[in-house]
Structure formats: C-alpha cells, structure tokens
Symmetry: C2
Subunit: 418 residues, 2 copies
C-alpha cells in the first residue's frame, strides 16, 4: 500500500525520514519475507515547492491534488499542511475517495470532528489524529483505550510547548513576557505572529478535541473560556515564586454529572512542589481522570519534528495493521448532548497584581476585590499592589476582573490550584 503526504514542512520531512529514509524502526515492522515486498512507502508529496530535496527516488513531488485523489495505489494520506480550509477540503476528499487519513491538524479536527469521523465511517476508512494533541505524547490512543472501561470526568494539562517554554524561561530568568517572547521567536520556538499560542487558541483546540472524545459529545473551540499569558510580568514571576508557586498555562475541563461540561484555558499557579510545576520548556503533560483508574498523567515532548513525526507514523502503522482485518475499530461516540457551562465549577484562591497608575487605582482595585473576596492578603510596593484572596468561584472572579479592567487597565491575575 502506498502513502501520500500533504505538505513537506518540518513535520512532513520528519515523517518522510521515518518512512522512506529508514530513520528509526519503521522497516522492522515488515521483516517477514511475505510482507517485505509490500513495505509501504510515501510515493507522492503534495507541495508547491517542487525543488525540495527528498533524499531518495521513491517519493515524487506533485502540485495537483488529483494526482493523489485519483491514484488508486495510494491507500493512506498524511495531511500535514496546516491551516484550515484547504486541508479540510483535502481530508474530506481523501476520505470520500476511500483513503485512510492521518493528520496532525488540530484546527481541522477540532472544528469538524463529528463530520469527519462520520465521513470516515461512511467510506469504510479510518481517520487518525494522534499528533494533533500533545505532539509525541500518545494521549489520543490511550484515551480511547481507557474510555472502554472508564467514564472520564476530568482532563487537565500543559498542552502548548511555546507558552510553556516562555513561562519556564521567565521563571528561570525572572524575565518579562515581551523579552522572553522575542527570545523564543529568535530561536524558532515561537512564531512571528504568536497569537494562537499566547492567547490560548492552540490549547483550546487541543482541549476541545480531548474533551469531545472523553465526554462523548462535541465541545467546540468557542465553548472554551480562554485567557492568555501576555499580561504576566517579571514582578509576577518574582512575587509568585516568593509565595511558593509557579505559573503554568493550563487547559482544564470537567464533566459534572452526565452532561455538564466546564472548560477553561488560563494561567494557573501551582505549588512549586508539584508535578505540574516541574514540567518545563517545550514539554507537555496531560492528566486524565477516570472513575475506575483514577488519575493518569502523560509527559513528553509536545512539539518538535521527530516527536510529532513519531506520533504520525504510529498512526500509519496502526492503520497498516488493521487493513485487511474484518472489523474496523468502532468510531467514538460524539453525539451526547452536553451543556457547556463556562467556568462555573472552578474555584480557588486568586493571586492578582495591578499597576497603580494614579492615586485612585489602589482603592479601585481593593473595592473591586471587596465585592468577591471576604479575606485577602495585600502587599503594596513600587506602584504595584499584590493580592492573594480567599477561595472564590472562577466565574465571579473573572466577571469582577473584566469590570475592573475598565478603570485599572494593567493587571494580571491567576487562580491558585489546590
């Protein structure tokens, strides 16, 4: 069976190296004499740049999608172009053409999850997306397996390598956000436009995929409460450290009862002595809680060429393994009607730092806090006020903060994880 690749960027070339250039152990899966002849390879790559060096003579770069869609020798298509519309249309067309699809595209999966899964089933093929969440961490396959026995009730994790690199570096160097973002951009750890990472869209897409799978109904990207990390200053790193905390960018969802889903992507403070606080740089961690198994956590590289390519090729091997078997794996249930209820279930003490730009600011901050917190610790220092509150429900604090922003524009706050 031949394979086609859509896109020959970083991950695409990593996949090509594993499958065609024998980096790693792909070939050892086909060592029997009978199967060796049919060792699969990437024969066509859809790319605009036809001058790219493929390193062997097996693959050919094509520019016309029809070259892949109408080629009956191609049974698996690996979609790694990124972006939204074109890749979505290509994945649909491939499924309709009876080709199995493997993708790392979290935007497409998150947006069209139920439709694409149904389309795969209709056409008797398999859609796999292990690399769409957690890079090299085998979370998608494991979540599917655990769900065969468990009702999953909670998912939380550090799901974005770029922002975790930035926050780890800020913590290590006691540095500010802008400088650290610039550093991350200069060494290729952040994109020129970092919005999707630092504002939480990337985490939110990954969280919505995991939550849809776990809770058996569609949770959409836009259902997720999102608050980014751009307001975090060096003074916050310093103060939270002295309080014994480390700031992390957390995606978190909870299923309460049968249908009530709460989701949030926001900066959260963890005790320095915790597993989460010690997940650094581009590493990710994902925690799932099931009613039988309890909590499981999975740690690994959340991004990077080889780790992500490893996940993609794992999906390819999975498909090659079931081709010719009698029964395709049963698709996930995604049709449970879920109530998506914002952040109402989350609560905790809060840390808040505000810049005091004029005489009234301090009073404005404190009276705003008065409306939600009965007790609090207040430190005023160098035109900043730092506050740690008693336990408050997240939706109350978020609403208060939104209102406060009208009069005191510069502040940062984070829930403290208990």
């Amino acid at each position: 069976m031949n394979i086609a690749l859509l896109g020959f960027g970083t991950i695409g070339s990593g996949v090509y190296e594993l499958i065609n250039l024998n980096k790693g152990k792909f070939e050892s899966n086909f060592t029997d004499l009978a199967t060796q002849k049919s060792r699969p390879a990437i024969t066509k790559i859809l790319e605009r740049d036809i001058t790219k060096d493929l390193g062997d003579s097996v693959g050919v770069i094509v520019t016309d999608p029809k070259e892949i869609l109408e080629d009956d020798s191609i049974g698996i298509v690996i979609a790694l172009m990124g972006g939204m519309d074109f890749e979505y249309e290509m994945i649909k067309a491939c499924l309709k053409a009876g080709k199995h699809v493997v993708t790392a595209n979290k935007a497409v999966i998150s947006e069209y999850f139920a439709e694409l899964q149904a389309l795969a089933k209709e056409n008797g093929v398999v859609l796999r997306y292990e690399a769409s969440v957690g890079g090299g961490i085998p979370i998608i396959g494991t979540l599917k397996e655990e769900m065969r026995i468990n009702r999953v009730t909670e998912i939380k994790g550090i799901l974005n390598g770029t922002t975790n690199f930035i926050l780890s570096k800020m913590t290590e160097e006691m540095a500010g956000f802008e400088d650290t973002l610039a550093l991350a951009q200069s060494i290729g750890f952040a994109e020129a436009d970092p919005t999707a990472d630092v504002e939480g869209y990337d985490v939110s897409r990954k969280l919505s995929i995991l939550s849809s799978m776990a809770y058996e109904g569609i949770v959409r990207d836009e259902d997720v409460y999102k608050r980014g990390i751009t307001d975090i200053g060096a003074m916050d790193i310093e103060m939270t450290k002295s309080l014994g905390y480390v700031v992390k960018f957390l995606g978190h969802s909870i299923l309460d009862g049968k249908r009530d889903v709460y989701t949030t992507v926001e900066p959260v403070l963890f005790k320095a002595a915790s597993i989460m606080s010690n997940v650094n740089s581009e590493f990710n961690i994902i925690s799932i809680t099931g009613d039988i198994i309890g909590e499981l956590q999975f740690y690994g590289k959340g991004a990077g060429k080889d780790a992500t390519a490893n996940a993609v090729v794992g999906d390819v091997l999975y498909i090659l393994n079931i081709v010719g078997e009698q029964n395709l794996p049963r698709p996930l249930r995604l049709n449970r009607k879920l109530n998506k209820l914002g952040t109402g279930i989350f609560k905790g003490k809060y840390y808040l730092r505000a810049n005091l730009n004029d005489k009234e600011s301090l009073d404005q901050v404190l009276s705003a806090l008065e409306t939600v917190a009965s007790r609090k610790t207040v430190i005023v220092n160098d035109n900043h006020v730092y506050v740690v509150t008693s336990v408050i429900a997240a939706n109350e604090f978020n609403a208060m903060a939104e209102k406060l922003r009208e009069t005191v524009p510069e502040f940062f706050y984070a829930r403290i994880y208990e």
Copy 2:
C-alpha cells in the same frame, strides 16, 4: 466467549466487578445488537474458598483446574493467584489448551518470559500482562507501540507503591523507616513480610520485564543490582531535605550500544524541584526514552484494586477485539544476546551517612571514601557523619561501601541524580 478467573482476591474481585457486575463501561463495548448476545462473562473462578459471595449467578467457584482447562467454552483465562509455581503451571496449561491468558503475575512473567511467549505463539493464542508492571499505568501496551518506531535506550521509574508510600510518608513526617513500615502494614499498604518490596525484588521483576521488552532480549531478575531502603533513617530524610533532595526508590536500566545493558534498583536522591520528587504515596511513574520520541513519562496508581483491575480488563478487551481477526499481533523479539554489565554506566555525587559508634569510625569512613572520592563535603553531628562526594562511578562506590560495612556496619548511602 467465556472467561475464567484464577484467584478471587482483591484484584480478582475487582476484575469480576468490572466484567460481571457492570461496574465501569465493560458492557458498552458490546452494545451492537449482533454482539450483545455474545457479551463475554466470567463463568468459572478457581478458588479454594467456595463460600465467597460473587454477587451474581453467572460465575461459579470451582476447585479443580480441569474444570477450566477442559471447558471449551472458556477462551480467556485471567491468572491472578500470585505466587510462582502453581500459577506458572496453570498459565502453561491454559496456553497449551489454546486459551488466551491475561495475568498480573510479574514473578511468573519475569522468570519465564521467553518460554511463555513462545508457548502462546505455538498455540495461536495471546499472552497479556499489562497489570504486571505499574498497576493501572498503561506502560506495557505503550512500550510495545513506541518500540515499533523507536529504539528504546533507557527506562527508569518509581515502580513500587508500598515503598513509595513509605518514603513519601517518611519525608512528610520526618519519620524513621521502622515506624513508617509499621504504619504502612497497619493500614494494608505493606505486607506482613515486606521483604519483596523493601529489598527491591518487586521493582527488579518489573524492571526486568520492561528491560527485556525494550532491549529485545532477556534481562533476568537476578541480573539486576538491588539495594533496599531499610537503612534509611529519619536523620537521612532531614539532612537530604536540607540539602534540597528527596529520596526515591528507583529502578533504572540503560542500553548502551547494541548489547550492553546496565540495571539497578536502589535509593536515589532527586532534586526537590523535579517530577520524580513529586510522585508521592502509592503512585508510580515510569520514564522511557526512545531515539526518535525522546523521553516519555507515565504516571498513575501503581497498585490498588480498581486501577489494577482496569489494566487486566483492558487486556481482556484487547483480546476480545482481535479474536476472529486474521493475524495475531507479532510477538516481541526477546532473543537478542545482551551483555548484562551491572551498574558500571551509572555515576553521580553520593550522599552517605554513617553512625559513629567508636572513636575509630570517623577515620574508617573518611579513609574508605578517600579511596574513591577526591573532593567531599563532611558534616559531623550527634554521633553521625554526613558526606556528599564528588562524582563517582556507581560500581566503585558500591564496592567501597561493601568493604566499609565490615568495619562500620551502620550507614546509608544514595546516589544523587543529575
């Protein structure tokens, strides 16, 4: 297809609850009309105590193994008796009778790994043992999957819930080993005879299973260097804490080049700010490093009724899923000739505490250390000497310590993980 259970202890009854009593989602795997009729159940349980309450009328307790071995309606046998000889013979007999086997018995798997795997293959059945390592952590299945692409070069982990509970409790309470062991025994977290746990036999069996799988050749329990945790005193907990470390009981193996394997089970000091240091109580963590994927870590309950039963039932579902398919999964390669080379590859700074029982003890300790360590920090206090050395190879330090034991019998030491 019917299932038989060998042993109705804690894990056995947990498995019975999941499969027969519909705790969890086992039944939802058979919701299609066609498969519902054939929903598998445990119909026979081998147990001495025939008065046990099964909670339903599907399962029957039998006392004669033949009742299971000669019952053609039974396709899967779950072996959870524990111990060695009888379970080993039963597993062999079941495989020979053409029955798939699922077991949690690390002693049997570790001792007869290659033989049992070959026997399964010969008889066209599957042998699964997910619950034998890491309790509820899905490490066996994941390791198999990752090895399809990666050459695994390193495994390390906290693999024993009892000793991790004891060490966590000692760290939390600044308590001594004997008192904490007694506490663990009183609440059922340690057995009356704790030798297998506290001397490292349990960890060593798990490490030998993972290492055999990962390095594709047999690593036996007796190949593993083992040093237990019974020498750790409250003063060690206090001193290492003040130095910024936490003591953990680590299983660790490394493949160097193609054939050289190094294995060790011993107390190791980790920086307080690390993931390993924050794995507490009965939780386990397992790290595997592959040449493509980098490091992956898996965290979860290493013991306990539900978590372990979850892993067992996962294996049962795996088998039910492939019954009737054309190709059984390819067995692991276990025939690579490995050189088992002790602890030669490990090195680090060492922490040592010795009791000074007479005037000569201090000199004896310091001159013994002189033979291996060029630089060291020495603290003498309350009839104890505490030393932190420069970096030393593990086999040198271990040999020195063994010799020192002849003149200064009471001391504890641990390598500091860098």
